[in-house]
Subunit: 457 residues, 2 copies
């Protein structure tokens, strides 16, 4: 039986198993779901054991990592699959049309928390693997590393990877946690932005004051914070932190023109978000603004009285969480320091400012000449009948830089999700089309990659 | 026995009664204290009945109003005393050195929630009244109107006053809810600022977005709100809303020079607040900035993720509570409308803005030529040995404008508190010196006022 035939014959089984995995509320951020997180790891372990595959639950300081492997021949190439079995919290539950942990298949989509991010996408790899070994078609070595803390920062993974470099040695890492442009238009994410994240605290007087008695005479930390934040960008939408753009890679007009050929409809984009106009750095298109330009966003702000009604307080403190998305070759640590230095400098003398850095991540770009990329592109071309478009995404996936740093291995972000999946939101979904197309495409990847590696020697 | 002798002889009784009143947690803002609020009203009723004074508990839509009167002779002047028996919430309790409703007398001060604001100050009037009637020295008619909702906006009072104009008719209203400059330097508040208060909501995209995927391409409502707020004031500290200053009364240099003679030490002010420098409208002193200039403060701001850790959200909405203190002759309603119009106008087209006005209040100024003022000043001169300084305060007391509007009667703000009383804060206190000095001063007021009214006819 061909691999394709096996996949077709087992569609229902593949779906049933995914639904069973989705029923387990493996919410890593919430300690009351701790046992359920482990249950999801155990589920995966059982599925690998069903396939006579060596698998272990690796204990960590937090949630366990599921590690499985099939080594056919050390001389053959090795593909490492990364995925995560933990999911985002589902609150607020009342905004879901069907319960987040009672998966519902409707309109050709699987609605459940984690269906796209990341259980559906991770499980495609397990089923593609199954189809290959059941049809005796696996051409190379495979390793699976599926963690349970991606939604909370992958802390244990960083330790695991550093301590298991030999075990995790591979020629390429495959990750499915991104999306394609549309079901008609395949794409592979070749670029991710980096991240610099800080929390700032502005202190005025040493206590909350009555805004009648003191208003107009004492610097208000909220008004001050607003002015400081406003000053971080000019009227062209450029960030004003000195030296911020120093290391930003300048791309050729040819490169930019090619990027801008990616199918994208600005009106659809605006209508979907119900905004009258887009807003960003002058001189760049929307695709460029999210793909190849660094940005600054205030993710949260608070201070003073925020309850019901009116309270006339001139507060002691105001706070904000501010993040910057970075592009090659900006350094997350350097940018964080530039921000902190600048923010202190622009603070007027009637306030005191504290800047607390959070964990960041570097921008990454995969060359379209890399063998892993070419193999993934060919696999997609096989199932879609057209070449995928290489895209540079706005988000950050810090583990890609971690793998590069600790294992010296590139990751190929061959994801099959869609923007409409609404990951992190209520009513998350993953398309049946995407699930099955992914399994098929991934199954082709192994053969194509193995052949390319061989031809390259 | 002279009135003064009576006061001296009953100091302990006067203090014990105040402590008993302070033990009742009459927190108007919190419905779980509803019975206690009423208990405080009943306490006052009992004290008036002890003095054979006609008193009634007037039911309202909210907390009751205690009304008491002694009409000696309709031909004589009538003084109306306003006070409030409700108190601010005492949270956070852990910041108090002694429990807020277990009054402690220490360092010559009474520590308790409400000791200064306003039970101590209100009760001085009841005891001054007692001293006068017990020594057969009351020279005029007296009416007491003591409400239970001042800390939550005096809603029921507004209704009560409008419905009882005849009952509340008086030649002057005395209010003790403000402070003197220091125990050495008596002062009378002759000016209060007005208030305009709004809540604004800025909406960007129709839902929270991932700041990686969308950051740099979609207008962030927090960044936008910060820019809009920052634009409301220029680098000279002036408010940029068009026509904002149109009706502001221009005061002569002579008037300003006199104001600036008020004892005030900027270094002490700054050290107390632990600020390196003051901040306000250029060209004005601190006294002027709070007394005779209008201002704009953000009282609260919130939006996006404000919990622990990092979350990379580009939020849908950002909010702020903004208030403006006003001076004569600005109109609260007009300023609110100017703000709303301007805020809508400066909103860029990638956001939508909503402005919700809250209840405001007009600025008020009492002439130092008014008989009530002169009588209060003379009473203070008698007990202090020096004339009080007329001061214009930064805060607002909307009922002063209410009384002017509904009863056509001026209020004299003869308060005896101190800045250090820390009203609305933990460890509120009221000085024994201030309590007794106030009782004595108030007892003189009636005779002086009655004589001045007679001489004026």
């Amino acid at each position: 039986m061909s691999t394709l035939a096996y996949i077709k014959e087992n569609k229902d089984k593949f779906l049933d198993e995914l639904l069973a995995l989705l029923r387990i509320p493996s919410v890593s951020a919430d300690s009351k779901f701790k046992d359920k997180v482990r249950e999801a790891a155990e589920f995966l372990k059982d599925r690998f054991e069903d396939l006579d595959t060596e698998v272990e639950i690796c204990e960590t300081g937090g949630h366990p990592i599921v590690y499985a492997e099939r080594i056919i021949d050390p001389a053959l190439p090795t593909v490492l699959i990364y995925g995560h079995y933990d999911v985002q919290p589902a609150d607020p539950y009342e905004l879901w049309d069907s319960p987040p942990f009672e998966p519902m298949v409707k309109d050709e989509k699987i609605f459940a928390r984690g269906s796209a991010d990341d259980k559906g996408q991770t499980y495609m790899h397990v089923k593609a693997y199954e189809a290959l070994i059941k049809t005796d078609s696996l051409p190379c070595n495979v390793k699976f590393m599926i963690e349970g803390e991606e939604e909370i920062g992958s802390g244990s993974l960083a330790v695991f990877v550093a301590q298991n470099k030999e075990k995790l040695a591979a020629d390429v890492i495959l990750i499915s946690d991104t999306h394609i442009i549309s079901n008609d238009t395949p794409s592979i994410t070749v670029g991710l932005r980096g991240l610099s994240y800080v929390e700032v605290e502005v202190t005025g007087p040493n206590r909350d004051l009555h805004s009648g008695t003191f208003g107009g005479a004492v610097g208000n930390p909220i008004n001050t914070l607003c002015r400081m934040i406003a000053s971080l960008q000019n009227e062209r939408g450029e960030i004003t932190i000195p030296r911020f753009y120093d290391k930003v890679e300048m791309l050729s007009q040819e490169y930019r023109d090619k990027m801008n050929l990616t199918p994208f409809d600005l009106n659809t984009f605006k209508n979907d978000l119900e905004i009258n106009s887009e807003k960003g750095e002058e001189g760049y298109t929307t695709i460029e603004r999210t793909g190849i330009r660094p940005t600054l966003d205030v993710n949260g702000i608070w201070g003073g009285y925020t309850g019901e009604g009116a309270k006339t307080v001139l507060p002691s403190k105001a706070y904000a969480k501010i993040s910057m998305r970075l592009v090659p070759n900006q350094s997350s640590e350097e940018i964080t320091q530039l921000f902190a230095k600048h923010f202190q400098k622009i603070a007027p003398d009637y306030v005191k400012v504290k800047v607390t850095p959070y964990h960041g991540g570097e921008a990454t770009v995969t060359s379209t000449n890399a063998i892993g990329y070419k193999a993934a592109a060919k696999a997609m071309e096989k199932t879609w009948g057209k070449e995928p478009i290489p895209t540079r995404e706005g988000g950050s996936i810090p583990i890609v830089a971690l793998f590069q740093k600790e294992l010296g291995t590139d990751s190929i972000l061959m994801g099959f999700g869609l923007q409409e999946d609404a990951i992190h939101s209520p009513n998350e979904s993953y398309g049946l089309f995407n699930y099955y197309r992914g399994i098929e495409t991934i199954s082709y990847f192994y053969q194509i990659f193995t052949k390319m590696k061989k031809d390259n020697q």
